[in-house]
C-alpha cells in the first residue's frame, strides 16, 4: 500500500511557541489512525497545517503524490481532504440541508444544485440528521452541530477524513451510536485520522495510534503497545486511567 498522506519534517511556530516540531507521519490508504495527546499538544494545529488553514514553516506535505504544503485551502479540499472543526463552523443562517448541499456542490463535485441537494439528503440520512434538515444550523445543539460537521465533510467525498473531536460532548450512549457511524464511514474506504480524548472511541476504531506531545511525535504504533508505553501514560493518560484500563483488562 502506498502512502496517501506523507508529512516530512513539518514544523509550525506561533510566535515563540513551536506548536509542531519536525513531524514525520505517513498515512496509508484505508487505515484508521487515532491521534491523541495532551491538550495543547498540537493536534488541531496538525490538521490545520494539512488542510492549509495554517502554512507550515518548514517541511513538506504530500497528498496522493501531490505536494500540498502551499496549496490553497479550497483546492486541498477538492483533492479529497476533509476535516471537521473542533470548534464547529457551520453556516449559521443556512438550514442543515443547505449546509450540506453547499459542501456537496463545491467539494463534492456535484454537477448541479439539484444533484448536490440529493447527495446532501443522502449524507444527512447517513448521519441521522434527516429530521433536522429544515432547521437553521444555528439552532442545533452542540452534538447536532458536530454531526452536521461530519455530514458536511462526508459530502466532500473525502479520501482523507480528519475528525477533530467529533465525539466530544456526547454521552457514552451517544458515543456508541457515533462509533457505529464512524465504522460505517471507514467501511466506505476513506482514510480516517481520528483525534479524540475519549479512549473508548480510539481503542474501538483505530488500529494504529499516534501520540503528540509538546508538538513532537512521541509514539506511533499499534494501539495496545502505544497505550502501555510509559511515556504516553505519563504524558497523557494519567495514572488513574491506566489503572482503570488495567482493571478493565485492556
Amino acid at each position: 500500500m502506498t502512502a496517501l498522506l506523507e508529512l516530512k519534517g513539518v514544523t509550525k511556530r506561533f510566535r515563540g511557541l513551536e506548536a509542531l516540531s519536525d513531524i514525520n507521519l505517513s498515512l496509508k490508504s484505508g487505515e484508521i489512525v487515532g491521534l491523541i495527546g495532551p491538550n495543547g499538544a498540537g493536534k488541531t494545529t496538525l490538521v490545520n497545517v494539512i488542510t492549509g488553514v495554517h502554512t507550515a514553516d518548514a517541511g513538506s506535505i504530500t497528498f496522493n503524490g501531490a505536494p500540498i504544503a502551499h496549496m490553497r485551502r479550497d483546492r486541498i479540499a477538492r483533492l479529497g481532504v476533509a476535516r471537521t472543526f473542533q470548534v464547529v463552523q457551520p453556516f449559521p443562517a443556512m438550514t442543515v440541508l443547505e449546509n450540506v448541499t453547499a459542501a456537496a456542490l463545491f467539494g463534492g463535485g456535484a454537477a448541479s444544485i439539484a444533484e448536490a441537494r440529493d447527495a446532501a439528503a443522502h449524507h444527512l440520512a447517513f448521519c441521522g440528521l434527516t429530521d433536522q434538515a429544515g432547521k437553521p444550523a444555528a439552532n442545533l445543539t452542540l452534538a447536532g452541530r458536530k454531526r452536521l460537521e461530519l455530514a458536511k465533510s462526508l459530502a466532500l467525498r473525502p479520501k482523507l477524513l480528519m475528525l477533530d473531536e467529533v465525539n466530544a460532548g456526547l454521552n457514552p450512549a451517544e458515543v456508541d451510536a457515533a462509533l457505529e457511524l464512524i465504522t460505517r464511514i471507514a467501511a466506505q474506504g476513506a482514510t480516517i485520522l481520528l483525534i479524540e480524548h475519549l479512549m473508548k472511541v480510539v481503542t474501538r476504531t483505530a488500529r494504529r495510534l499516534v501520540v503528540l506531545h509538546h508538538g513532537k511525535l512521541i509514539a506511533d504504533g499499534p494501539v495496545a503497545s502505544v497505550l502501555s508505553d510509559e511515556t504516553v501514560v505519563e504524558a497523557y493518560l494519567g495514572r488513574r486511567y491506566a489503572e482503570r484500563m488495567a482493571g478493565a483488562g485492556i
Binding site: 495543547g40 447536532g144 460532548g169 454521552n171 457514552p172 450512549a173 456508541d176 473508548k200 488513574r240
Partner: protein
C-alpha cells in the same frame, strides 16, 4: 452539608418562541456536588443559562440562599454568589489569561488583597495557567482554556459554581486532575452544579444526581443509587 443553596421550582424557559425547558425542579445543597445528566438537547445548557440570568423565565422560581432571583440580571446572580462556567468556555479574545482571571473577580468587593491571593491560588491550582499568564487566552488549546474558564469562575469566589461540560475535549490526565481539583474546591466550601456528558465521571464526582429528559427533570437521587439503576445505565452509559 446541611442548608439548601439553590432551589429551582417549576422552571420553564426557552429561546424566543421556542420553549426548551418544560419543567425543572432542582435543589443544590450547601457544600455538595450535584450533577445534571441527560441526552443531547435535553435542555441542560438552557437550564443553566436560566440559572445565571441569561435567559428570562417563563414560569417558576429560583431561590439562591432563600432569596428569590427569578427575573434577576446576570450581575445579580453573580452578586449572590452564582458563577457560571459556560459551555464552550467563552474566554475573552484579546485578553491575556491574567486579564481573563481578573475579570472573574469583576463583581467582587472584598478588596485587592483578597483578589490577589485568590489569583495566586488559581495559579497554584493550575500551574499551566501560570506559565501562560501573558498569552491571549483564546489561543491556548482546548484543555488549557477549560482550566482557565474554571479558574475564572472560581475567581468570583462563588458559593455556587455552575459548570457546563466539564470534561469536554480534555485529555484523560487533565480530567483526572480537574476531578481532584473540583473535590478540593468543594472542600473549600464552594458548591457545584455540574453538567457532564461523561456520565461515568459525573457519577464518580457527584453526591447527588438529576436526570433531565426533553426539558424535564425526570429523576433524581444520590449518585450511588442512580449509578446502580439499570435503566440509567442503558440510556446513558453505553457499552
Amino acid at each position: 452539608m446541611t442548608g439548601t443553596l439553590l432551589k429551582v421550582e417549576g422552571l420553564e424557559t426557552g429561546y424566543g418562541d421556542i420553549q426548551v425547558v418544560w419543567r425543572a425542579d432542582l435543589e443544590v445543597r450547601q457544600g455538595a456536588i450535584t450533577a445534571l445528566i441527560g441526552s443531547n438537547g435535553a435542555g441542560k445548557t438552557t437550564l443553566l443559562r436560566a440559572l445565571s440570568g441569561l435567559l428570562p423565565l417563563r414560569n417558576g422560581a429560583i431561590f439562591v440562599s432563600g432569596r428569590d432571583l427569578a427575573g434577576a440580571s446576570p450581575q445579580q446572580f453573580v452578586e449572590h454568589g452564582v458563577a457560571h462556567v459556560p459551555e464552550g468556555r467563552r474566554l475573552i479574545t484579546g485578553l491575556s489569561v491574567h486579564d481573563n482571571l481578573m475579570l472573574g473577580a469583576y463583581r467582587r468587593k472584598d478588596g485587592k488583597q483578597a483578589i490577589r491571593a485568590d489569583l495566586e491560588r488559581m495559579y497554584a491550582l493550575f500551574p499551566r495557567l501560570a506559565e501562560r499568564r501573558r498569552q491571549d487566552a483564546t489561543t491556548m488549546s482546548g484543555g488549557e482554556q477549560q482550566m482557565c474558564a474554571i479558574a475564572r469562575g472560581l475567581m468570583a469566589a462563588p458559593g455556587l459554581l455552575l459548570i457546563d461540560e466539564l470534561s469536554l475535549g480534555l485529555a484523560p490526565a487533565i480530567v483526572d486532575q480537574l476531578v481532584t481539583t473540583l473535590e478540593r474546591v468543594r472542600a473549600d466550601g464552594t458548591s457545584i452544579l455540574l453538567v457532564e456528558q461523561d456520565v461515568g465521571i459525573a457519577l464518580e464526582l457527584a453526591d447527588f444526581v438529576y436526570v433531565m429528559d426533553q426539558g424535564r427533570t425526570v429523576r433524581n437521587g444520590p449518585a450511588d443509587e442512580i449509578a446502580a439503576d439499570p435503566s440509567i445505565i442503558a440510556a446513558y452509559m453505553g457499552t
